[in-house]
């Protein structure tokens, strides 16, 4: 009877120990998964910031910047541009008046062209800037992916490192053997 009790107790202890190992491994794995989730939140946060910026993205600033550059250039070169249309005291009033009209017309034409070109170039520049921001988001994702890989590797090491206590295992096994033998020897009709 004693042998049977000892054998059963040893089996129960072994079972308990195996279960404890499984629980520890499960907890460690769950912790690792939560860590991965936290990293994903980091990615999601970067993504949300990118989307917010993209939502507010418009070509207005790029158009203004381009137009200012074009108008500055026109302004700097105005003297040269209008050289052939200068007032000349030796010419008739009609000539000078017409030259004046044409000068104003061409200056307006230059301004209109600057406006058109900036409205064409602005959206293109805006999309280039968006492309840079998207590439930047990719770099942030890459950074998180590296952290994720590192954390995943560590979790795997931790899970694989969780074993049952070898001394306790030896003891329960020895106790189990002894109990079985004892029970066998003392059984009715035994040796």
């Amino acid at each position: 009877m004693i042998g049977l009790i000892v054998a059963l107790a040893a089996a129960a202890a072994q079972q308990y120990q195996a279960h404890q190992v499984a629980v520890k491994q499960d907890k460690t794995a769950a912790q690792g998964i939560k860590q991965q989730s936290a990293l994903r939140q980091e990615s999601n946060s970067a993504l949300q910031q990118r989307l917010l910026k993209l939502q507010q993205s418009n070509p207005d600033d790029a158009i203004t910047q381009k137009k200012t550059g074009y108008l500055d250039q026109l302004q700097r070169a105005r003297m040269v541009a209008n050289q052939g249309l200068q007032q000349n005291s030796g010419y008739s009033d009609a000539y000078n008046s017409y030259a004046d009209t044409v000068t104003n017309r061409e200056n307006t034409s230059g301004t209109d062209l600057a406006d058109l070109m900036s409205r064409i170039d602005g959206p293109t520049a805006q999309r280039q800037a968006e492309g840079f921001d998207t590439a930047d988001l990719g770099t942030q994702f890459e950074d998180v992916a590296r952290k994720s890989q590192g954390a995943g590797f560590l979790t795997k090491l931790k899970v694989n490192g969780i074993h049952s206590n070898p001394w306790l295992g030896l003891l329960t096994e020895a106790a189990g053997s002894w109990g079985s033998n004892y029970a066998g020897r003392n059984a009715p009709g035994g040796p």
């Binding site: 629980v23 993209l54 062209l113 293109t124 998207t134 988001l137 990719g138 994702f141």
Partner: protein
């Protein structure tokens, strides 16, 4: 017995549910941004600017062609004749072709801008889904960048239209050459060394 052994499964399920929800929300946001009225307005304004640029260019060319033809006809004494009508019909024909070409170019440029947006949208969706999966998004981001930068290389948006009235230039040049030829011989009258072709109407100033 010291707790259950399904907390990892539960955590994984929760994480996967969250990931799916985030990916779905991100996809919806990205689609919303690129299909928004604001984006459509940007492309419409780009198209309008392109259209105006080409139209202005074309109108200037036509104005020049009108003047050249007018003077060429006058020089040739063909003003008011059928040749005058034919030359102006050519201008109208070339102008109409130029208008269609300008419109095609403007719409083509707007389509390229729109296509770049759609490409950027798809790349960003793919990146968002992969990024939320904690896998690499780098390659795709570079592809997205490449797609946006290639937009800068497209020239169709700002290339001027070709000389639409080039076919009329020949007519104008010939009339100019004829004028120069007349100038050469006109004042040769009375000179001992200058050649005379005997055409009194051409060689005598004031003679009509």
């Amino acid at each position: 017995m010291g707790g259950g052994t399904d907390s990892a499964t539960k955590a994984a399920q929760k994480a996967e549910d969250e990931r799916r929800a985030q990916a779905k929300a991100a996809t919806s946001s990205i689609n919303g941004i690129f299909n928004s009225d604001s984006r459509k307005k940007q492309i419409a304004d780009f198209l309008s600017a392109d259209r105006t640029l080409y139209r202005t260019d074309l109108d200037k060319q036509k104005h020049k062609a009108d003047l050249n033809t007018k003077f060429a006809m006058a020089r040739s004494g063909l003003t008011g004749g059928s040749q005058d009508v034919d030359a102006n019909a050519d201008i109208t024909n070339s102008y109409n072709k130029g208008l269609i070409d300008a419109e095609r170019r403007a719409q083509g440029a707007a389509s390229e801008l729109s296509a770049a947006d759609q490409q950027a949208r798809l790349n960003l969706i793919s990146m968002a889904q992969n990024g939320l999966d904690n896998t690499t998004g780098q390659q795709q981001s570079l592809e997205a960048l490449q797609s946006n930068l290639s937009l800068a290389k497209q020239k169709s948006a700002t290339d001027g239209i070709a000389d639409v009235f080039a076919s009329l230039t020949d007519w104008y040049k010939k009339s100019q050459q004829a004028k120069e030829a007349r100038q050469t011989t006109k004042y040769g009258f009375g000179s001992l060394y200058a050649p005379m072709d005997g055409n009194i109407a051409v060689n005598t100033p004031g003679y009509t």
